[in-house]
């Protein structure tokens, strides 16, 4: 049956809005209780995060309403902001100027144009193959050998993380799944919800029960209790949402487990990069959360694998 995602999307967004209303009320009660003069940093940060969530959910909902073009543009902008954040921290030299210009003004728009036009054969290899070979040539032409391998590797890594991986979220729109035609936007909604809900629940479980730290030198806030509680709660939520996906409940649970575990790994890896570069956040544009990469770290790692699993097992393209 050819579906219209509108009704399912409306139910999901209403559910998220209810969660946010509960979180907002709880945040305000906590503030009344423990931080009436705004001096408790944890509670102030919690409320800033909740407020930012309202903004992010609204933007995503508007993009869904605007359809394919809206979704592609939204994630292209996320990639732009993420690339700006990641290249701020990478090693670079004056000689890399043209490579960096190419990343922003050629590679990023071209990758999203390919996604927008559904050109799977090219968008899945464009950055790992063509950009991978082309950018070092451009850097070499400017002829500064100092730190060359470090510079080209870090530039490529920034592109993979910020553009290639993130572009696999809107790429979900191009999968053709029998009986799910026209409803692919729900795959994005399900993925983003499950992965982000896992982050939130890891934070909540960690704050409530967290004692044993997983990697104290990378991320002081990641605990075993938060990790187990968060991934299991979010995987259960992902399974309960099976009706908006093309997957039966058990498979929805398995996929949710995969994406939440990858999401956790993404948070850990991108924390390691931050620690190495001596910064606390990737940026500052999302109040309470930090930068775009701070908020998208788990989606970055989950999206490409989710895309390929669904494509291999469910899609006919």
């Amino acid at each position: 049956m050819n579906g219209n995602p509108g009704q399912d999307l409306f139910v999901l967004l209403s559910g998220v809005a209810i969660l946010l209303v509960v979180a907002t009320v709880a945040g305000q009660i906590l503030r009344e209780r423990f931080s009436p003069d705004g001096t408790n940093a944890v509670i102030e940060n919690l409320n800033a995060r909740i407020l930012s969530w309202w903004g992010m959910v609204t933007l995503l909902a508007l993009a869904f309403l605007a359809g394919r073009t809206g979704v592609v543009l939204l994630f292209a902008f996320c990639s732009f902001a993420a690339l700006r954040e990641s290249l701020t921290l990478t090693a670079k030299d004056r000689a890399d100027h043209w490579s960096l210009v190419a990343c922003f003004y050629l590679i990023l728009p071209f990758q999203y144009w390919l996604v927008w036009t559904d050109w799977y054969g090219l968008y899945s290899v464009f950055i790992p193959v063509y950009a991978f070979l082309f950018l070092p040539i451009l850097a070499a032409l400017r002829g500064t050998p100092q730190g060359f391998l470090t510079r080209v590797s870090e530039t490529q890594w920034a592109l993979m993380i910020s553009v290639f991986c993130i572009s696999h979220v809107p790429a979900l729109l191009s999968l053709r799944i029998a009986g799910f035609e026209g409803k692919n936007v729900l795959l994005i909604a399900w993925l983003v919800f499950t992965v982000q809900f896992s982050d939130v629940m890891q934070y909540v479980w960690g704050k409530l029960l967290g004692r044993r730290r997983i990697a104290p030198s990378l991320s002081p806030s990641k605990t075993w209790e938060g990790f187990v509680g968060g991934t299991l709660t979010a995987s259960a939520a992902g399974a309960l949402l099976w009706w908006i996906t093309p997957f039966p409940p058990a498979e929805a649970f398995a996929l949710a487990l995969v994406v939440t575990l990858l999401g956790f790994g993404g948070g850990l890896v991108l924390s390691a990069v931050k620690r190495d570069r001596g910064v606390k956040d990737w940026g500052s544009l999302i109040a309470g959360h930090g930068g775009f990469i701070d908020r998208l770290d788990s989606v970055i790692f989950a999206a490409p694998v989710f895309f390929h699993l669904v494509r291999y097992f469910w899609s006919s393209t």
């Binding site: 940093a41 921290l89 210009v101 922003f104 570069r277 001596g278 910064v279 956040d281």
Partner: protein, 224 residues
């Protein structure tokens, strides 16, 4: 005449906002108030100078009510060379224009800057006197900052470090690379009683340089 003045003001307003929007798009610039609060006091912000966009970033992070009362000090011999530059320098940025060429001067630069201060405007100055294009983090300061501070001891001299803009647009490049930038405002200094020019300039230079190390990358954001 009246209508033309009105059109010129509207064009300057639109151009100013377009420049600010572009600067924010490319640099996501963020202020770090690390010693001076964003308060509308009479100040001289003295900053490192690596790019033509330096002043725009300081302007972009100041709250609007402060931005409207803060004027950059710029070289007349650069900004009045073409009509477009003159429009941007005078009408958009409302710059205090001083002549770097002693033989052409009709007014003393320090007197021109004091006049702007006395009229209630804070100033942005680049005491290195020209763009720093070398490997040294900072060039020797010219003496203007000392003369201003000595003549108006009540004015706060705020060291202001612009981080990363030299990477956004290295010298000789035409296209800016988007990278996150920060502007760090340090603790205000004053010319001490009886302090010599050289001692003060060394102290001012050290105060500015101290901010360079404090802000690596884009970090030190909100609590996570």
């Amino acid at each position: 005449m009246e209508a033309r003045g009105w059109i010129r003001r509207a064009a300057a307003f639109a151009a100013g906002n377009a420049i600010l929007l572009f600067a924010r798009f490319v640099t996501a610039v963020r202020p770090v108030w690390a010693g001076a609060a964003p308060e509308p006091r009479l100040r001289i912000y003295f900053a490192n100078h690596t790019s033509n966009g330096d002043f725009v970033l300081i302007w972009a992070v100041l709250p609007r009510h402060m931005r409207l009362r803060t004027r950059p000090v710029a070289a007349l011999d650069y900004w009045l060379t073409t009509p477009l530059r003159a429009f941007v320098g005078r009408d958009v940025f409302n710059a205090v224009l001083i002549d770097r060429r002693p033989e052409h001067r009709t007014a003393d630069p320090v007197a021109t800057m004091l006049e702007a201060l006395d009229a209630g405007s804070s100033l942005i100055i680049f005491p290195e006197g020209r763009r720093n294009e070398g490997p040294a983090p900072i060039l020797p300061f010219r003496s203007g900052l000392f003369h201003l501070g000595a003549a108006r001891p009540g004015v706060e001299l705020v060291p202001t470090w612009i981080h990363n803009l030299n990477r956004v647009m290295p010298k000789g490049e035409l296209i800016p690379v988007p990278l996150n930038c920060t502007v760090t405002f340090g603790t205000p200094i004053h010319v001490g009683p009886g302090e010599t020019k050289d001692a003060f300039l060394a102290r001012a230079s050290a105060a500015l340089l101290a901010l360079a190390g404090a802000e690596a990358g884009s970090g030190a954001g909100a609590a996570a």
